[in-house]
Symmetry: C4
Subunit: 212 residues, 4 copies
């Protein structure tokens, strides 16, 4: 939409990476539920049949929230990324590849939540998403002309830190899952909740906005 | 796209929540029909096989219209919402989580429309969507800097009222469904039709536009 | 994106109807192929198994092209529609409802292409799409403030005529299908090809552009 | 969004072809994984069941990357295409038709990767995509008023050349597949990696940017 100046004409505007990304996330979020079969009539009644589905429903809700955390990471990065080069496009596509794999991982987890292989595969998918997101951000911020000048070093570091902390927590959850999958699943559930809290920067600015 | 001023730089432009939301709604609306199996050849003929599908087809049409009502609510809110903070993003994601669940609820309703458990689960999903939409609007309108100054108190109240009335009607339909599911389903069908009528504000303005 | 002036503040900008519509069409076009099962190993070989799928593949290609014709109709209308009211939104949603039904109709046609019930249902879906598109255009052009002033009466009539001609051709194809489904299917295939030809207006303007 | 001047009013702005295209690609990329069934509990354990899926997982990853290459081609073309006529829209739709077929081709390849029919059909799909993309670019660049004046003859030729080279490589891979499918699959895997490398133009400009 915006006209890149002549000097940057090997760079593309970033808006289509946002559209493609939003599409992939929207679909991944919505097809999670396709993995859950509508229960057929049984002697025990519909309520019972639905109750039996709880591991699948929990895996669906968890995975939706995980996708939410990762989407927000993508959203914040593209708030600053203005232009793309070929490398950034491919890093973005690898990130989206991990996103499209999550519905499969969620299906495996819903069916085998007590199996540490399922927990490890699920965690590894999240870890791969985090890695791609981190490489994406590193490339964007280190290549001249890709991010907006408004990006402060403080915000740059904050976005990087949030990914690294999440990856460390995921790695820890996988390790715990090798011993006891239930604790691991609780850890997966707690992690996104931490991402819902405002950052220190956000709290400070909100306080300032109230004063002003 | 628009440049947020310095004072609001912990706020993101709202456009990507619109894109993600439109994607989730578009997919939910389109995959409703995936739950309906193409009938195989039978002795009674294709017309008979299609007629037997009527509860699934009715559940699909009803759910499409319900999604329409909820999408319009989202559309009107984002006509006024300009920027987002982390809390608004998460409220929006919880709203979208309920939307992604609706195709599952529609499948259960199509298979078990005479079971009050199916009717109650379907109604509860709509109720959860309404709750998320209401919390979303409350947060947006009560946090400084998120909505456009053009939002009048009259319109603010009108959007809130429309959600609350719909939720009350849904709660009533669920209660009726515990006694007689057929009446409950009729109520679900009537509700969206009321949402298709223009509001008092719209009628007044249309009248004024004709005079002018 | 654009700021509607005060006088029109009960009207919403039309851009989200475009996004939702593009999403629904993109998904409907892409899930057509989900109805075709990957053939399993058989004695007759893979090539034979794929050849046996030809009615499903033909129904998929036909339906993709039909969706293309309808999408282009939507695209041209929204080239002129700037703002929406509640009625236009609902007419648009009913149009999209018929679009989401097409993958089901395509599945039925692929399995039962020799059954005139399947052909009639498929044709009726196209007819319903055409009706919704026509009502949509009528409402948009007859309500003050919805379309851009650049819309000429010539273009207005041309868009209307193209829908009506298509609907007449579809109705004729359905009628033929009651006698002989094969001719009817050929008619369905020929119809979109006519839509690919440039209109008289387009040919005239192209000629003028060449002269200038 | 932009206002086409009077002279070009039979031309539509190109933005909706981008949105539709991004939608189709996003869905095709995400539903690739729907073809992979979640393994059920077995005596050999989950890890074994997942290992057995490797041809399907490889086909999914390969197809995602192929879609990436084709999407980037579409992205670059629309960086220059500003307006569309009816012919360009239909060429774009034929390109998208080949994209929607790829998930089916990927499913067949995952199940029958040792069958040269599967390899040939997969390659033919890529070849059809390339053909459509080339015709699309030819029409856009040869019709007055469709592309931005900023398009240099150098970039025009570079985009054309990249498609032709890819098509030649695909044709070669299909031919090899008639003799030995394994080599053919390796060739398919290598091809996209070449597309990830920056072009000569990009390398030169990057070098200049560093100097400046």
């Amino acid at each position: 939409v915006s006209e890149p100046d002549r000097q940057h004409d090997h760079l593309l505007p970033a808006n289509r990476l946002e559209t493609l990304g939003d599409g992939v996330f929207a679909i991944a979020m919505t097809i999670l539920v396709l993995g859950i079969q509508v229960p057929q009539v049984s002697e025990a009644g519909l309520l019972h049949s639905l109750r039996v589905l709880w591991p699948k429903l929990a895996s669906y809700a968890l995975s939706f929230v995980m996708l939410g955390v990762l989407w927000i990471g993508h959203y914040y990065q593209f708030h600053y990324i203005r232009r793309t080069d070929r490398t950034l496009i491919w890093l973005d596509l690898f990130f989206l590849l991990t996103i499209t794999f999550l519905p499969f991982g969620a299906g495996v987890l819903g069916d085998h939540y007590e199996d540490h292989v399922a927990v490890a595969m699920y965690g590894a998918t999240i870890l791969a998403s985090g890695t791609a997101l981190l490489l994406h951000w590193n490339h964007a911020t280190k290549t001249p002309g890709l991010v907006r000048p408004e990006l402060t070093p403080e915000m740059n570091a904050s976005l990087r830190k949030r990914i690294i902390v999440g990856m460390a927590a995921t790695a820890l959850s996988i390790a715990i899952g090798l011993v006891e999958t239930r604790i691991s699943l609780v850890a997966f559930l707690v992690m996104p909740i931490l991402y819902m809290l405002p950052t220190r920067m956000e709290r400070e600015r909100r306080a300032r906005a109230r004063v002003a």
